[in-house]
Amino acid sequence: MKAIVVHQYGGPEVLKFEDYPDPVPSPGEVLVRVAATSVNPIDYKRRAGLMKDFYPLQFPGLIGVDMAGTVVKIGPGVEGFSAGDQVFAMADNTYAELCVVKAAALAKVPKGLDLIQAAALPLVTVTGNQLMSATGIKAGQTVLVVGAGGNVGRSAVFTGKQRGATVIAGVLKKQMDEVKTVGADQVVATDDDTAIVNLPPLDAVADTVGGRTAEKLIAKVKAEECLRRFLRRRRVPHITHL
């Protein structure tokens, strides 16, 4: 097959389109003809060697985590998939014409969704959903999504609305127009200190940006209810503003 092969850490120029041995499905695995993959920050961080301590590349080796394609062949013991199925996944080595994926980590592309577009979805939409779920936000509560214009952010906003929360989309001032369509109840510029001061108390923050913005915004999150009750009971003097 053809694949993007990496022989050393470095800039984009280390990505070479070359021949590479076809992968072979082991028991429990599925061989997929890749229709498309998509670029995620983890791909170029790995290429640049920024993650070599905990997620190293082997040389020559392949990269990529998102994949959509068509099942070519199933390995021994695989049930629920057969040749010709349109599938997508978070996998390894997806910048290639063929890819092997554990059947347990494969999903069928919903009918009516374009197979190539499906390759954009696995990592960002699952991450956004799990980020919002991790906040534990409930109906009637308020959550701020930081970086709401990004793809993980958009997915988090959507999930927050699904959970019945009031969702505030946090973006840079210059991006405020871009997020009018993400479905949030309100948009706030996270680089506008006045706007931050005027934010309502937040039940949770779902952060996709980190850095100084995150350092500031953690101050806007209400104390956990159980802690507030505990502190009131104990009359801890220096946290009376809670």
């Binding site: 993007i4 919903p110 980020l131 993980v152 952060d207 995150a214 915004l217 209400k222």
Partner: protein, 76 residues
């Protein structure tokens, strides 16, 4: 609750009453299918900024590294 996909903020030490969670995504079939159906139905929009052949992965990554919000697709 302050949930983040990045390293937890250092200032978290000053806010002991706020729980901090570092989220690392894990594949979940039901979640992916649910989110993909939302995209198909137009309820969730994941913008595509470029669609290039797989052979042009270097160019796609160079563009993506500069920032911008749309996804770059590589068609195999």
């Amino acid at each position: 609750m302050f949930a983040t996909v990045l390293a937890p903020p250092q200032s978290a030490a000053y806010y002991p009453s706020v729980k901090v969670a570092h989220v690392v995504s894990k594949f979940d079939r039901k979640t992916l299918e649910f989110m993909a159906e939302a995209v198909r139905d137009g309820k969730l929009v994941i913008p595509i900024s470029q669609k290039l052949p797989l052979s042009e992965a270097a160019e796609a990554q160079a563009t993506a590294e500069k920032g911008g919000t749309g996804k770059s697709l590589l068609v195999a």
